[in-house]
């Protein structure tokens, strides 16, 4: 079920809220049980067959968590954890990377393997990473759950299940046992609904609007047609804007939906296109994935503790795997490696020039960062290296071709980029309601307040979004 679909908005969500508040009167545990069942219905709605891999994954990881907790002070602790992580990676590999391995990796190794082409269960990357983090945290004595119901809710809670944010057991379980927000339901409804309205508008109106300028250029490139300077920049910029409004819109909706039930999720975006360096970009983009890769991959690899060379190698490994996590294709690996190289370059630059940058340098850094990010997105979006190189060639002014330049799309993308760079983000706008788990800066302008003006502004955003539900489109991150 999609957040931007009529069945979700007009049937599932009202029923889930009504049921939750009804059971909440009986007690928190019945309410948890109801939310768990609702979340499983939400997940299985798309394809009931997907529920089995999810159930197997939850049952296995719950048992592994128990085993790790029992053995963590013995010599077996590390072995059980390693087995648990290996099982999760194997699970992900079977569903997500089997075809990639058979068709792209095995031939390089001289092997002939026939891909079975299993269906990819929705959100498999997200719920697998969530549970790997849980197993590591159990080993580190940061988490432990002996209650199957609360563990199942932790994994399946529908606002985050399919496309994140990637959550930690230690930050969620206290809330699942006792909600952090001990405020009246109406306060949670106001805060959650307001943030949800902003997120839905970002996805259903802005991202889907600008999406129409993305496909023509990338399709032409996929067909081998060269692109002019204008056409290439139009599709690359439009995709840059689309993926931000699509995924950050989804994340806003997720945080807003969780808040309707009195639960706080971590925020996932903090105006990434305001970044003046790639290091800053990764602190602001898909923050829960960055946190996961840092805490459960970069640090265990040694982080920056073993000298600059090792740190740069670690960064490259983390970013290459981060790219592969997004999709089973070499173009995603290339995207990850490009960001790895940019991060290494950024760290080296900081060593050469450790002083605080001036205003001019900040502006130059911002322009350079955006150009590099936009260029890297081309590999993320293109379905082959050939297509990506055609777009990049066009962006460099070396293309030609008959593909039309959509000047309105170029202007729209530039306006939206400027908006991303200058306007406060969703959680800053909603600062007065305390959105998400972390404290948020208050904006100088556009701060939400429970006034008639804001109620009508959000009503307009919701009404316009509802009028787009006829052409419900999937979220880009569903495929990752």
């Amino acid at each position: 079920m999609l957040f931007n679909s009529a069945p979700f908005l007009f049937a599932f969500l009202p029923l889930a809220l009504a049921g939750f508040f009804g059971f909440r009167r009986v007690g928190w545990r019945p309410a948890m049980a109801f939310l768990t069942v609702s979340s499983i219905v939400f997940y299985a709605w798309w394809n009931p067959a997907y529920a089995w891999p999810l159930a197997v994954s939850i049952a296995a990881n719950f048992a592994l968590g128990q085993a790790i907790a029992r053995t963590r002070d013995t010599g077996w602790g590390g072995t059980v954890l390693a087995a648990g992580i290996a099982l999760n990676l194997a699970f992900l590999g079977v569903f997500k990377y089997e075809r990639f391995f058979a068709e792209s990796v095995a031939p390089l190794l001289g092997l002939m393997i026939e891909a079975r082409g299993l269906d990819l269960p929705l959100g498999v990357s997200f719920f697998t990473f969530t549970q790997i983090a849980y197993l590591v945290d159990v080993r580190r004595k940061l988490a432990q759950d002996g209650d199957a119901l609360s563990y199942t809710l932790f994994v399946t809670f529908f606002p985050h299940l399919i496309a994140g944010p990637i959550i930690h057991h230690k930050e969620m379980m206290p809330q699942f046992r006792q909600p952090r927000r001990q405020c009246p339901a109406s306060e949670n409804l106001v805060a959650g609904l307001s943030l949800f309205a902003i997120g839905l508008f970002k996805k259903a109106v802005i991202a889907d609007w600008v999406a129409s300028y993305v496909a023509p250029g990338f399709s032409a490139a996929a067909a081998g047609q060269e692109l002019s300077l204008g056409a290439a920049w139009t599709c690359a910029l439009a995709y840059t804007v689309q993926i931000y409004f699509d995924f950050s819109g989804y994340s806003d909706m997720a945080v807003g939906l969780a808040r309707l039930f009195g639960i706080d999720l971590p925020v996932n975006f903090n105006s990434p296109y305001k970044s003046a360096s790639i290091i800053e970009f990764w602190r602001r983009w898909h923050m829960t994935l960055s946190r996961f890769l840092r805490d459960y991959l970069y640090f265990p690899l040694g982080g920056g503790r073993s000298g600059p060379v090792r740190r740069h190698v670690n960064l490259m490994v983390v970013m290459a795997l981060g790219g592969l996590w997004h999709g089973a294709a070499w173009t995603f690996v290339a995207w990850g490696c490009l960001h790895g190289l940019m991060l290494v370059g950024n760290h080296l630059w900081r060593e050469v020039r450790p002083a605080e940058p001036g205003r001019g340098e900040m502006i130059a850094g911002w322009v350079l960062t955006q150009v590099l990010v936009i260029a890297a997105w081309v590999f993320f979006r293109a379905n082959s290296f050939d297509a990506a190189l055609i777009v990049l060639k066009g962006m460099a002014g070396l293309g030609g071709g008959a593909a039309k330049v959509a000047w309105d799309g170029l202007a729209l993308s530039l306006v939206l980029m400027a908006f991303c760079a200058l306007a406060p983000n969703s959680q800053q706008i909603m600062q007065a309601t305390g959105p998400g788990l972390e404290p948020v800066d208050s904006p100088k302008r556009f701060a939400w307040a429970p006034t008639t003006g804001w109620a009508w502004a959000l009503a307009a955003m919701l009404a316009v979004s509802v009028m787009t539900l006829w052409r419900t489109s999937e979220f880009l991150y569903y495929q990752f």
């Binding site: 009246p184 307040a449 109620a455 009404a463």
Partner: protein, 387 residues
């Protein structure tokens, strides 16, 4: 400056949710009033909402809805050729209510279903069907939004809801208001015809024609192209269904083989389709002879189909857009020939089983003469087909 007074949580929620409902009702009222796709038939006001659009990507749903609620004396059928070439305002019709029910990118199987639907709601005096070989291939799939339309038996109520409560309709309402105020004709007008000239100010006919020939001859298995096409005589059964739909004793049925430009006919020949094309005509003549309909052939070689293709992009062709799609001017000539018997049989001849071989022979001879008089055009087609 004083801050606005905060609302209570409950009041804020009520304002927000009430606001959503109020704004949706307002939006629906606006769409109903402008009625951008002629869905609600409450009338057009000149300068306000008379320039309605059927939207190309929603055309089948809109056409089915209009055919379901408005009566017409004349209906046109065909593919995009019929949609672009047959003008419901043609002088030859004498101002009677007419509608272009053609479906772009269609085939006989789909058209037969659409015609059966129309015949349940309409009693036209004249039905004109534009025919070309490509409609009689192996492809029978419906196109566009056919399955969501009344043609496929879908209920109109979701369509009405969508026409009231969609952002697209809201956007199109604005466009209709603007176009009507400025007197700008919509390219996909409410009479069902598509006028590419209303959308494109300049038109490089030679480039367009070369584009059509290239795409039709590109090595592919796609049944939509000349290179991948296979004639399927069983489509005649679909034609019989279409004829039977209007076999009510009141409707005159005219089938017209559309006038393909000589250069594009060369491309068809280069794809090896001439034997199929000729056999198709024989089958058509036999099928139509068994009904009360008339069959007219506008293909072949004459002043229309051999019109010079300008090398200057600023020069407009009179009869063609791209060699496959003829202009409304050419469509008017066809209607004049059929309805008023004006012109001679070099452009438009009644085809029967008795004269079909003669006509085929005449066209073969015409092709030889065209090759002699236009060697450069024929050579260009041959060069494209060799790639």
């Amino acid at each position: 400056m004083s801050q606005p007074r905060p609302l209570s949580q409950r009041r804020f929620l009520l304002t927000l949710l009430g606001g959503v409902v109020a704004l949706l009702v307002l939006g629906a009222g606006f769409n109903f009033m402008v009625d951008p796709y002629a869905s609600f038939r409450w009338g057009d006001i000149k300068g306000f909402n008379d320039q309605k659009t059927l939207r190309r990507d929603g055309g089948r749903v809109n056409k089915a809805l209009i055919l379901g609620h408005t009566q017409f004396d004349v209906l046109f059928y065909g593919t995009s050729r019929g949609e672009m070439g047959f003008d419901p305002s043609s002088p030859a019709l004498g101002g009677v209510p007419a509608f272009n029910a053609s479906l772009s990118d269609s085939n006989m199987a789909e058209l037969a279903r659409a015609a059966e639907y129309a015949a349940r709601h309409q009693s036209p005096r004249l039905v004109v069907v534009g025919l070309d070989l490509m409609m009689f291939g192996t492809r029978t799939a419906t196109g566009g939004d056919f399955e969501r339309s009344g043609f496929a038996g879908a209920s109109p109520w979701p369509v009405y809801a969508r026409r009231l409560l969609s952002l697209q309709a809201f956007d199109d309402s604005g466009w209709v208001l603007f176009s009507s105020a400025k007197g700008m004709r919509q390219s996909f007008a409410k009479d069902g015809s598509y006028d590419i000239g209303a959308r494109k100010k300049s038109f490089d006919h030679r480039a367009e024609m070369d584009g059509v020939i290239r795409s039709q001859l590109a090595p592919t298995k796609a049944a939509k192209t000349y290179a991948g096409f296979h004639y399927a005589p069983e489509r005649m059964e679909d034609l019989r269904r279409l004829l039977a739909a209007f076999d009510n004793g009141r409707t005159r049925m005219v089938l017209a083989i559309t006038p393909i430009h000589a250069k594009v006919l060369e491309a068809k020949a280069a794809a090896g389709l001439m034997p199929a094309w000729e056999q198709w005509k024989r089958d058509l003549a036999a099928t139509v002879a068994a009904s009360k309909a008339e069959l007219w052939d506008f293909s072949g070689y004459n002043a229309v189909t051999t019109e010079d293709i300008p090398r200057d992009p600023a020069t407009r062709m009179r009869w063609y857009w791209d060699g496959s799609h003829f202009t409304k001017a050419a469509g008017d000539l066809m209607l004049d020939r059929v309805l008023a018997a004006r012109g001679d049989e070099s452009f438009g001849i009644r085809l029967t089983p008795d004269n079909v071989e003669t006509v085929i022979g005449r066209i073969r001879a015409g092709r030889v003469a065209y090759a002699a008089s236009h060697p450069d055009e024929v050579a260009e087609v041959a060069a494209i087909s060799r790639r």
